[in-house]
Assembly symmetry: C2
Homo-oligomer: 482 residues x 2
């Protein structure tokens, strides 16, 4: 078996306009973000894909910690009996659980679920740990993988196993739990918009679309370039729903036993999918500088000419020292043209070309991945100039995405308009609040309710339900969704 030399491959990316879904897969595979695993519905995070996740995680984790959230780690296996205690919850998750039935050579007397989410086991331990109001709040989070036995899978968006964080908190009062639910949603919005450059709509889910067992679910919804919605994070208020099922009680200040108020909230590696489908273009990824594993790549041009290699190495150390995530691509096994394509495909925000002529003029040639523009910047003081350029690129990516989204979000007044609008974007509609109307919209257009913005008053633009025509006071986003 003779193996082919990789360099002979010319990478081809399906144009977005031709087949958005193929484009997505092409970009992911060719940029080396992930690969399919030899296990049904699972994927492998390759170094570049995982490095993006590490950056996102860092952004989230620092904010969690500032809010007083502590990281923990709970077992991945949950006994079936624990899972069964909250009925709505188990109905929601049972069909997609993977079960361990054998340990070593013995057959287990009780099946163990690989966690699809961990409310049930957190509640079990909260019930043990919680004694008095002094122990509250308990604000816990874990970074782990979960398993949901999916039939149709797609890298980063829907896989049997995926990486995520799940926060679980308990509180003494309903107000405090609601505040926490909102605070975490706000952290999600901030990371999405400020770090990932993803404009999102935040709001409350309908009862139909809320989490199994929650009193209320809030989400952030991003729009992909095909106009479809991607739920990019959710924050749930459980009230005392789980704490009653799992006996999570405490002695309050008045000496009485009381059920704890509970929240949970999660984001996952779906966010990587959102970044790709929001910012990517025909050449591949465009990564927002805040979370780009490599913010700038240095390419020596005519590296054999005197001074070029040395200048590149010096520049590398200087930029690294200034806290910029920089890479020096000094491979001599591939051409400069190959490198250009490769780093554009990988979405590195800035390419710095350093050749003899640049050095003569005391400059570097700067290529911006977002606008595809080439300029020069003086070598002297480059670190500062580069930092401000990275800030500009970050803003530009957000603004582009926001303009796109805003243009594709429209108020609609009847079902025809709604059906047309969800072909290319989000429909903002008045809705009566009945699930029957959601069901009709789902059946007719394969669109679902996404969420209800918080500033309902300000956004209200009619009095009749888009579907049934009855009185309606809810503003709801509808869209096709991933």
């Amino acid at each position: 078996m003779a193996k082919k030399d990789k360099q002979e491959f010319v990478s081809y990316i399906t144009p977005r306009s031709e087949d958005f879904s193929r484009w997505y897969t092409d970009v992911i595979m060719q940029a080396g973000l992930c690969d399919y695993a030899p296990v049904r519905g699972c994927m492998i995070f390759r170094p570049y894909g995982y490095a993006i996740w590490e950056q996102i995680r860092q952004q989230m984790d620092a904010r969690f910690k500032r809010k007083g959230v502590e990281n923990v780690y709970f077992p991945m296996l949950i006994p079936e009996s624990l899972l069964l205690k909250e009925s709505e919850h188990v109905e929601g998750f049972a069909p997609e659980v993977a079960w361990v039935t054998q340990g070593g050579n013995e057959t287990l007397t009780e099946r163990l679920a690989i966690r699809p989410t961990s409310e049930t086991i957190f509640c079990t331990m909260f019930s043990k740990w919680l004694q008095t109001w002094r122990d509250l709040p308990m604000n816990y989070n874990q970074w782990c993988s979960v398993m949901r036995w999916e039939k149709a899978t797609r890298p980063f968006l829907r896989t049997s196993e995926f990486l995520w964080q799940e926060g679980h908190t308990i509180h003494a009062s309903a107000e405090e739990a609601q505040q926490m639910t909102m605070d975490m949603l706000e952290i999600y919005r901030e990371v999405a918009e400020d770090a990932l450059a993803l404009p999102v709509y935040v709001g409350r889910k309908s009862d139909k679309e809320k989490f199994a067992g929650a009193r209320a679910t809030y989400s952030m919804e991003a729009m992909m370039q095909d106009g479809k919605a991607l739920q990019a994070g959710t924050s749930h208020n459980f009230g005392t729903n789980f704490s009653e099922a799992y006996q999570v009680q405490f002695q309050n200040k008045e000496g009485k036993l009381q059920y704890a108020e509970e929240t949970s909230w999660g984001t996952s590696t779906r966010l990587i999918g959102a970044i790709i489908m929001t910012h990517g273009d025909e050449r591949g990824l465009r990564l927002p500088p805040v979370i780009a594993p490599i913010q700038a790549v240095i390419l020596p041009i005519a590296a054999h000419k005197p001074g070029v290699t040395e200048a590149c190495e010096k520049l590398f150390e200087e930029l690294k020292g200034a806290g910029i995530r920089v890479k020096l691509d000094d491979r001599d096994t591939v051409s400069a043209g190959f490198k250009f394509n490769d780093w554009e495909l990988k979405g590195v925000p800035v390419r710095l070309e350093v050749g003899p002529r640049d050095l003569e003029n005391g400059v570097v040639t700067v290529f911006r991945r977002d606008t595809l523009e080439k300029t020069t910047l003086p070598l002297d003081g480059l670190a500062d100039a580069l930092k401000s350029l990275l800030g500009e690129i970050q803003a530009e990516l957000f603004n582009q995405a926001k303009a796109f989204r805003d243009e594709r979000t429209k108020n609609v007044s009847d079902l025809d308009e709604l059906g047309k609008q969800v072909e290319t974007g989000f429909a903002r509609a008045m809705w009566c609040g009945e699930q029957a109307c959601e069901d009709i919209i789902k059946e007719k257009f394969n669109a679902t309710s996404r969420n209800m913005p918080f500033d309902q008053e300000a956004q209200r633009f009619g009095t009749r339900c888009v579907c049934c025509g009855k009185p309606a006071d809810k503003v709801m986003y509808f869209a096709k969704a991933y």
Copy 2:
């Protein structure tokens, strides 16, 4: 059901001399490091225990990255057929595998193992990704959990699920693979000694004790306060053993197909157990400052007196700003005495007491957890003084542990001596290299061969095997082990 107020509990720690194993469990539980999970053999990392792991991980991860290792994430499930390809390996792990046999409502046609370790699936993907010598090396690592269905478990030391990192690398030459195996062992030694203050013996394992499927296994061995050994990290050179079984081949510079040379290496949350059992004392943990989640705790004394609270808050900001991991314990629900005990139990290296008299004198009272000494330090310039104190404490903990270990490591010349020595420490012995002798020592004394130091020449102190008396040129450590 009336719940008790936690504050009424007076914590009791079994003295080490009375029952070392009880002492260990008492410390772990009372310091809030972990708890038993409602799943056989599994444990929960509570915030303080997980925070220690985060610190260790950061120390390791930064060093891995400097060596060019990239993080990835592979699926937790491995199809049985993949696991079966390397025969030694599967024999070693099969008895302790947890099997998934059902997904949702369907019975799987092939059982899936929850990874006990990931060589088999890494090799499968290496085989797909590797084409030519230009792709080499691939230096990958993942931080994840693994599952080994253990019968007898003990927190941090032996649990069914545990957290670890596993590195997997492939190389073009045997020399390069061996270098990598040694480089990673050296990183482990450095983290153990410089960050965790654990003196370790590094060396090569016997064939009997090596990893299932490895050509050679190297380890670092630490000595606990009961004189037993704890294997704290291993680094394996597989040669082409796995790459032949999984067809991991590449086209070399001469255009010929060649098998890749492979390594793997791992450390786990056992390291937390090692820290506890090396440094702990009757009052609880003593954490080395480099990895202590809280390096200094500030306790206001007579917080109601004017200026105390403000001074503590100012000090907190100042120390935090200087990069010290500091906590201000301003709880008014517990007494100062309770706080003293609590932070000593949790092993915080330095306690800073700030009361009216301290403020009058422009000082803080400083309590060192390692020596239990109290002194004062001027408030002015405290951050710098504290940093140097933390350095001293780090060195002191290492030196104490090293003196203890060195004193309890002895050369032995016959089985009687060996048997007596392993009751309280490590026996350094001449060994013929035969497994039969290891088996006898194991059966007679429940002691195992730990590793062979690299400087064999320098350490050699006899010519006859400690067991069979035949000619022997190997210096081997023997000990009882966790």
